[in-house]
């Protein structure tokens, strides 16, 4: 049994400790907001927060998450009103939407560490997240908008 704290809730899961966190989230806990895209840490669709860092759950063994705080897109904001979620909706960023949870989870770490990111900061933070539909311009714009919301809320 592995004890996990996901979105502030404790779970005990009976899985091989080598199982990637991604599959524990998706298959065992039915938290399917975190996506599979490549399985080799190239696309960023599976990004979750592990003690506040934007780890790629497809290559992160569940054993690494034991005793740490995991946050997924489902728990980014209890009320689903994280500035990034608001900005994403305001700017209607999504096309197919498959990558967007990972994009938002990556952007959340950027905004936590940099309250007023430049375009360059955004590129530096977000180049690990592929969007096959090409919504990058709106992602940039939405991060700027979210930073503004965050500053106003603060």
């Amino acid at each position: 049994m592995i004890k996990l704290t996901i979105n502030k809730k404790e779970h005990n899961v009976d899985v091989d400790p080598d199982t990637p966190l991604l599959w524990v989230l998706r298959d065992t806990l039915n938290l399917v907001g975190t996506k599979y895209g490549c399985g080799v840490a190239q696309c960023g669709a599976c990004v979750v927060h592990l003690n506040g860092e934007a780890v790629r759950s497809c290559v992160t063994k569940v054993s690494r998450a034991e005793g740490k705080k995991v946050v997924t897109i489902e728990g980014l904001s209890e009320t689903h009103t994280h500035p990034l979620q608001k900005a994403w909706l305001d700017l209607d960023v999504s096309q197919c939407g498959y990558c967007q949870a990972g994009q938002i989870m990556s952007a959340a770490v950027l905004l936590k560490e940099n309250k007023n990111p430049t375009d360059q900061d955004i590129d530096d933070a977000m180049a690990g997240n592929i969007c096959r539909c090409g919504t990058y311009l709106r992602i940039r714009e939405a991060i700027h908008a979210a930073a503004k919301i965050q500053r106003q809320d603060a």
């Binding site: 899985v15 091989d16 199982t19 990637p20 599959w23 998706r26 298959d27 065992t28 039915n30 938290l31 399917v32 907001g33 975190t34 996506k35 599979y36 895209g37 490549c38 399985g39 080799v40 190239q42 696309c43 669709a45 997924t72 897109i73 489902e74 689903h80 990034l84 979620q85 994403w88 909706l89 209607d92 960023v93 999504s94 096309q95 197919c96 939407g97 498959y98 990558c99 967007q100 949870a101 938002i104 375009d119 955004i122 590129d123 530096d124 977000m126 180049a127 690990g128 997240n129 592929i130 969007c131 096959r132 539909c133 090409g134 919504t135 990058y136 311009l137 709106r138 992602i139 940039r140």
Partner: protein, 753 residues
């Protein structure tokens, strides 16, 4: 192209919609097959929906649900199609509930996402559906209040009778409306009075997306569901010889390992039954990770498949096609293409006397362009859920064309069509890839075999190496100039593996007196399929590059040169069957010239490239502004002009064009998949480069030509000309022209990055 009669005749509409699909089963009859009594009797439903017709449901407490008929893969049809219904129905858009419809060709029409068809083919029927429902509600109110129906007005989901001061919500009369006969002649709104359509509305699933709700095929789950994976041969052209699953079967979670044949020998394939491998080695188990690991323990012997035969059904009966067994190599493919380019080819169109014109030319410009196979690389890999029993089948997942896969399923499962239920989830991208339903058929057969609900999943590697790629293309263009540098003849000879890219009746056909288009093709076992604007996505790169080269040789501005040709095509068109409207084509070029400040001194700092193209009944032009950044060419800014008629959802349409531009830049720079002895050399994103945010432009300025023409395609048309504009800007940036895609790194270079 919609070539139906006036919209007031449903039967005429039915005929014209059937033409849209080119003879495929698209039996749209949502209005005529309406029978409300079927649903009204069922009091056990959690919500008592009164079904007004196939698209609209209204409850007694005034909830209005609009069914989206077409699968959603990011083109935003789940928003735009219901908007069209809502417009004519006259309801408050904010109160509308949108739901994805199941596969039901009878009630919901052709349900095909592809060919930039969704809005184009549903525009009239959805307007009619909305207008019919509104009329039926008015009729019901008129009967209830005992007043003439002509005196009833509607506004935002309310019915009014001004003289008596009576009013009602749609829901109040919905039950009665469901018994009103469907009107025969429906008057549609004036497009100038629209207040939902032509106004930006947000993606109806936006909130679900940003909060991680289950939406996609891979998110689907079911009681007792098992996970299935297929071990495909490592190379295209190989097949299973033998296997030892003893180690696999000892792995935790594994339920079964077996082989299956997708199609029996001699199976008549439909047009979209493309499949690369027929003998499937299947591992079924409890969870994704367990199956992934167990599959690695298989000990498999593969063998060369040799030449095989495919059989296609169709109007002309069963036809046989030999699939060559060669294990292909990219170098050899390029060599073969060069050999074929020198051989005689099939003539596709000829105007005037091109041979003589070339013989008498003062100058001949000849250039050859090539492009590699491309993998679609939808972010969500191929997958499908299937639960097949002896009596019925339930299939759930990402699919662009349920209507085309169902007839094949009927044959494979030996079940009648009405026992096969297909539900379409939101798709994590499609780009044409999910029009080919082999993965759904595989899932169905696996479920039937293991007698359990299963979800078949492709890993990224499975997905990228499976085949169904954008074909490999080449084209040689020749232009003849006379002594005064007038363009007197134009020749294009295009080929590809396994199909040629040529659209013979497109620009500049019609604009040049002497014109010749030819095509040739090389058969291959590497499977291909539609990829966002098939063929056009290559032509627009090659042809628009070439037109720039010709313009330069003639000493002309690239935009002015194109406009001159279009003027000619309009005033004295050459030949017949020219597919494009020269005015609309010129329109986007003029718009982009103005919007981009073409030739304005303040834009001199950019290396600018222009291109325009017509496909899927729409017109697109781009100007890309390139600079050098970190030693690499970088598209910093793009101006785009579109003419797709009425723009249903302007902000979403802008998003679509911006995405197409980014996708185009990415594929032009980096896209390419090569083979060595049949083995795809790119199997994941570490080797197949996808454009990333740091490579995306800072700004993409999108303009739409404003007109009241019925809407045409938008998902594909903005994509192809990006390649041409990038090629033309690269010429300015580098000082030499690149002829082989991808432009950033040669596809044969071992360095993918």
């Amino acid at each position: 192209m919609e070539k139906g009669n006036s919209t007031n005749s449903r039967r005429a509409f039915l005929r014209s919609s059937a033409l849209l699909g080119g003879g495929l089963m698209i039996h749209f009859s949502g209005l005529t097959r309406f029978s409300p009594a079927e649903k009204l009797g069922n009091i056990d439903l959690p919500e008592q929906w009164n079904e007004i017709n196939g698209y609209v449901k209204i409850t007694a407490d005034n909830l209005i649900k609009i069914i989206c008929p077409n699968p959603e893969f990011g083109q935003n049809v789940m928003t735009s199609l219901p908007m069209i219904v809502a417009e004519e129905l006259d309801v408050d858009w904010k109160k509308v509930i949108v739901e994805m419809g199941p596969h039901d060709n009878v009630k919901l029409g052709p349900q095909f996402t592809g060919g930039s068809n969704s809005v184009r083919m549903y525009w009239r029927p959805l307007r009619q559906a909305g207008a019919a429902a509104r009329h039926m509600l008015k009729e019901a109110a008129a009967q209830t209040w005992g007043v003439p129906v002509e005196e009833i007005t509607t506004k935002a989901g309310m019915l009014f009778h001004e003289k008596s001061g009576k009013s009602a919500k749609y829901g109040d009369v919905a039950s009665k409306a469901a018994t009103v006969p469907v009107p025969k002649d429906i008057k549609l709104k004036d497009v100038k009075s629209f207040n939902v359509v032509r106004h930006s509305q947000k993606n109806v699933e936006g909130e679900k997306i940003v909060t991680g709700k289950p939406l996609f095929g891979l998110d689907y789950t079911h009681e007792g569901m098992l996970i299935a994976m297929i071990e495909h041969p490592p190379a295209i052209g190989m097949k299973l010889k033998s296997f030892d699953a003893s180690k696999t079967l000892q792995m935790p979670g594994v339920k079964d390992v077996f082989t299956l044949k997708l199609f029996e020998d001699g199976f008549e394939q439909g047009g979209f039954d493309t499949r690369t491998f027929n003998d499937l080695l299947v591992v079924v188990g409890k969870s994704t990770w367990e199956v992934m690991n167990a599959r690695k323990k298989l000990v498999v012997e593969w063998t060369a498949a040799g030449d095989t035969k495919d059989y296609a059904g169709g109007r002309n009966g069963k036809t046989e096609r030999i699939v060559p067994g060669e294990l292909e190599n990219t170098d050899r493919q390029y060599q073969k293409m060069r050999e074929f380019a020198d051989k005689p080819a099939q003539q596709l169109r000829k105007d005037g006397d091109p041979e003589t014109a070339f013989k008498n030319a003062a100058q001949i410009i000849e250039r050859t362009y090539t492009a590699p196979f491309l993998a679609h690389n939808c972010m969500e890999p191929m997958n499908f859920f299937a639960h097949v029993t002896d009596e019925k089948a339930l299939l759930v997942g990402p699919l662009q064309a349920p209507g085309w896969t169902e007839p094949t399923l009927v044959k494979l499962l030996n079940l009648p069509a009405d026992k096969i239920e297909i539900q379409m989830t939101r798709m994590g991208g499609g780009f044409g890839r999910r029009a080919y339903g082999h993965y759904l058929m595989e899932a169905a057969l696996i479920s039937k075999k293991v007698k359990a609900p299963i979800k078949l999943m492709y890993t990224r590697e499975d997905d990228m190496t499976y085949g169904v790629y954008r074909p490999m293309y080449t084209a040689t263009y020749r232009a003849a100039l006379d002594a005064n540098k007038n363009l007197i003849a134009f020749h294009v000879k295009g080929g590809g593996i396994p199909e040629h890219p040529i659209h013979a009746n497109r620009f500049p056909a019609g604009a040049v007196d002497n014109y010749l288009a030819e095509g040739w093709q090389i058969p291959s076992n590497i499977t291909t399929g539609a990829f966002r604007a098939p063929r056009s996505n290559f032509n627009a790169a090659a042809e628009q590059s070439f037109l720039d080269e010709v313009a330069e040789a003639m000493g002309k501005d690239p935009i002015e040169f194109r406009l001159e040709l279009l003027k000619r095509a309009k005033e004295t068109p050459v030949g017949k069957n020219n597919e494009y409207d020269a005015d609309r084509y010129a329109g986007v070029l003029k718009l982009i010239r103005d919007k981009s400040g073409w030739n304005k001194p303040e834009n001199k700092k950019y290396n600018r490239g222009v291109a325009a193209y017509f496909c899927h009944s729409s017109y697109a032009a781009h100007v890309v502004d390139m600079v050098m950044k970190d030693g690499q060419p970088y598209v910093e800014r793009v101006f785009s002009a579109m003419d797709c008629g009425i723009v249903v959802n302007p902000d979403a349409a802008t998003n679509m064009v911006q995405g197409a531009v980014v996708d185009g830049i990415g594929n032009a720079f980096y896209g390419g998949l090569i083979h060595k002895d049949g083995v795809a050399q790119q199997n994941n994103f570490n080797k197949y480069r996808i454009i990333r945010i740091n490579e995306a432009p800072k700004k993409i300025d999108v303009s739409f030509v404003q007109n009241d023409i019925d809407p045409t395609g938008l998902g594909e048309p903005p994509f192809p000309p990006v390649f041409g504009a990038v090629a033309n800007a690269l010429y300015k940036t580098l000082g030499n022209r690149l002829y082989q895609q991808p432009f950033a790194v040669p596809v044969t270079d071992k360095r993918a990055f």
